[in-house]
Symmetry: D2
Subunit: 337 residues, 4 copies
């Protein structure tokens, strides 16, 4: 960490600040130039609060040099982490496809779709029981009943299930869920992240709409700091000025994340653009950029889906896509799991 002082900084104040850093076990390298006086802090600065340092009126700026995350940091864990989801592996050279409807709507719907996506090669069944909707007047999901139907679909197919949690109070309901999803809007719901850190259930953590890669990794760190290191990161589009698509897929986040962390990284092309016909090119791009998997929405009857129909594939479209996914992931050196 580097602290840059204002030109008129009082030497006595600087000295006191430095004494405080030394008391925290940090070493200080002083550097005084004609126009600039700065210090470098050497040691573990992850507990130094940048804002606190900046609050001193004689400080011009503070810049962090090393990353504030440790458990998620590839520097300290060079090897790829593979996450086991009820026997299905994500990461570590395996390529995973999670598929299913945006919302669980009925037993026949979820079981039918589960069978369809399994037949096409998906390794995990997705389906929303608790649904975060912008409007209070929109369908809010089948909630506990939806979880029950997911269990039935799992029983019918053997596919592990992944579904979204929105509230710490629902944790007991998710006890036997194979992978718990944290949605983009809850990426910084820190109370929820802390609760999930106490479990061993794998967590699929989606990047927030306007969160940086560093914030994304800090949210993973919340879960890992609690003891649950089974975290899979999911990029699903960020918010930009562009309006022709729902979100802007940040494809560069795949190689950037993989350089910074050992955790698996998957892409959700369905939410990224919000348009069914765009799922294929974005899925191909994700594979080419080095993603470890895909999360894709599939619905037996998209125009009558209770949510996100516009971005859902039919089972037939998904089957055609999976042929291409298998070929492309093989081409880029990963085996479909």
């Amino acid at each position: 960490m580097i602290v840059i002082f204002k030109n008129n900084a009082n030497p006595e104040q600087v000295k006191q600040l430095c004494a405080g850093f030394e008391a925290q076990g940090l070493k200080i390298h002083n550097s005084e130039g004609e126009h600039t006086h700065l210090i470098g802090l050497i040691g573990d600065t992850s507990s130094v609060d940048i804002d606190l340092v900046r609050a001193n009126d004689f400080v011009e700026d503070v810049k962090r040099v090393s990353e504030p995350y440790k458990k998620a940091n590839r520097k300290f864990h060079p090897a790829d982490t593979a996450v086991d989801v009820a026997g299905h592996t994500i990461g570590g050279g395996h390529f995973s496809v999670m598929a299913g409807p945006c919302s669980v709507e009925s037993e026949s719907q979820i079981v039918e779709v589960a069978r369809d996506v399994q037949r096409s090669g998906a390794g995990i069944l997705r389906g929303g029981a608790f649904k975060p909707r912008t409007s209070p007047y929109a369908f809010q999901g089948m909630r506990a009943e939806g979880l029950e139907l997911l269990r039935e679909a799992r029983a019918a197919t053997g596919l592990p299930i992944v579904t979204e949690i929105m509230n710490t109070e629902h944790v007991p309901l998710f006890a036997d869920v194979d992978m718990i999803q944290v949605g983009a809007r809850n990426m910084q719901n820190f109370e929820l992240l802390k609760e999930l850190g106490k479990l061993q259930t794998p967590v699929l953590l989606k990047r927030g709409l306007a969160n940086t890669i560093e914030e994304f990794l800090m949210s993973a760190e919340y879960i890992m700091a609690g003891g649950n290191e089974n975290v899979v990161l999911c990029e699903r589009g960020i918010r930009t000025f562009e309006t022709s698509m729902r979100n802007t897929l940040d494809i560069s986040a795949v190689p950037m994340l993989k350089s910074k962390t050992h955790l698996p990284v998957v892409i959700d092309p369905s939410h990224a653009a919000g348009i069914a016909w765009m799922v294929e090119p974005l899925a191909m791009a994700a594979i080419a950029a080095g993603a470890d998997g895909l999360m894709i929405e599939v619905h037996n009857d998209p125009p009558h889906a209770k949510s996100d129909g516009a971005q859902s594939l039919t089972p037939a479209q998904f089957d055609a896509l999976m042929g291409k996914v298998k070929a492309a992931s093989a081409f880029f050196g990963k085996a479909i799991n």
Copy 2:
């Protein structure tokens, strides 16, 4: 709502879609041109799911004409709403100042700051007990104990208190809090919004970092739809490409919100820029733009604050600011409350 069809749309499919709309009680105006075929839906379309309509592959685009929020909509409630916070009024011509530390840190700190801000003219005491922090290694707030200290500061001064909630499980702890704050990161924590909708306690709802004005109003609608119409909106800076400040204050949101909704709108200039010396110009701009109040961070010792010191004013700085706030709000036609 307007539905635009693709050029190759099958008339039979269009007919079926229209029949569905009519079954929902909507009237249809058909409009066929050389290049474009569209229909207008007449009636209450707030329950029509745009995505569902878009999911039809013969639909080119769907555009909403009327706002999807009702209870928050000024069209249906032309008069300004004033929210009563334990006898202190926000909105309706009153100008409110909420002030206090980012985090409650000790009894002496919060009581001392409460007395200071009261003396300078603040009408409500703010202070964080539950703190949303990007890093799991940062100070997380005094939690229940912090709430207790806020109560002591209220007892000592008579100031109503406003403090942030992060989880539905904590609702019972907030039973006697005068105003409950929903932070920017939880603006779309819909489970939390629904719980707050069941109370009558006023809610200070902060705009999310990257949420549109329409989404902001939809989150207010969540609370109001549940029965709690005591909502105050707070703009606190949005995320943009600019890096010289923490956030970009969207000052235009003040007049835009006030044109669209009858709810009071306040500004948090402390979080908006994240820089103490910038609080004054932004506070002045907020008053000039028509805001109904300000939320300002004040700390007795900013460089040793446990969070957000860089943006906190000292009590003396706050006192000087309040002189200007009183003069400016009087100049722009609002009485300090």
Copy 3:
């Protein structure tokens, strides 16, 4: 185009506005509901000025239904356009690679790099003579002398050359340049676009840092409206809140552009991230998403490059990349040109 009226719109004013539209040859479909009164305009609305309509105080909003671009619009030209650059074809099933240094620095440098990239399979030589630099104190390019050196490199290798123009006054200097590049900062330099519209030289038009896909196509339309239909679009990263990379590559722009226009679309992965090691994954993603080509920076000595060294590949790195580019473009069905 749809015009939505305010509730209190004066019928006389609406009538006058409609008469104006009819005088422009448009037909009007009127649609009056309980809460909403709107009209649909049928016919060619590309010359209707949305702002002008919105300026009427009885108009609530105006929404465009059909695209404001014609010559670039795939609706009116369904087949892919292939652009011929001195015998080298971009688009129409061909995959092109343009490579070379950010800046032309010396004869030996540009000739050497030209030979290197040709050997590896590049079809066009890129190199900057006029350089847009954020700082007036940075190297501004060799200008006319740089163009001369590019001609020498072309003579030595036979590769067509593409280089950036920054000013209409330089058009004569570019008379024998094979393809003229318009940089991101000049995407809306309309005077320049108009001048280029008068030529027949192919234009490589880069998307502006914060320009929408529609604005991008409108800038292409400027060139095409002047008579020059040889336009190639280049996505090179947009500006977002993310700071770990220079720009955010908008990979979705590839399929979106290709659905809206018949023009070829290429990707510049070097500028997109600004980081040399990220060129490969982004190049692979571009191919997978359906791009028609790549523009890649190659320098014989990146740490001593006069600009953009951080994102330049060495000839050896480029050669290794080209092996992968050839394989991937073949896999995705396009032949390297």
Copy 4:
């Protein structure tokens, strides 16, 4: 400037890099920690190319500590600069209002509006002759003829005129223009900035849609480095994800710019939101935040304006606004000029 090395940096390479810096006259402070090795460069680093340093594969990151602009930097010119526009002063405690139509459309229009805005208290007449329009099919301005009409309006009223230049070739046409405007889309048209740097005519430089404050100041530096220090900065709204307004006014840019530079800063509330009724609250906010002036669009017949009618005030509305502008600028300590 600080250079951070990768953990595996070769000491020999680091040594060579440092020797290069020393050859440029810089001093080096070395700082080696357990996890981090960095150096601080002491001296004038404005000519060091960050990208070039970053291009070394043993460099992890480079951070600038001092600003890359000199002539625009308040550190080296603490006193406010006041710019003289044909006898009218902008900055240095004076508050200026520039007003007039978006486009010059006819002699009677511009002369009439000039008289109107003068009567209401505007100090400079604005009017566009060369118009940057997104669509090639939209009105492109009266060009040279428009400049001639502006001269007539100046002759009729004595008001200095400000109008936009789009191309270096037009510089001779602007010889007797009192203030030359560089529009947002040309903020990084460096060839144009360099030409304007050779003149002494005051330049009104508008911030680009997605340009940072630092880039804005670097563009001012381009003009100043050429010898023309008569630069006025104009914030006119930036591009964000928000869609309810055309742009997002970055009100914080006013105090931030004024802390970093000695140049005057004005606000264009007309373009910022693109909505006539929002001009007043944004103008008030600008004054309150410390701006040195306003640029406001006024049209005698907004619904028939040839451009930007939606954001234009009528002369009567402008007159009412000016009453408030005079009162507010007096309240905030500046005299209308």
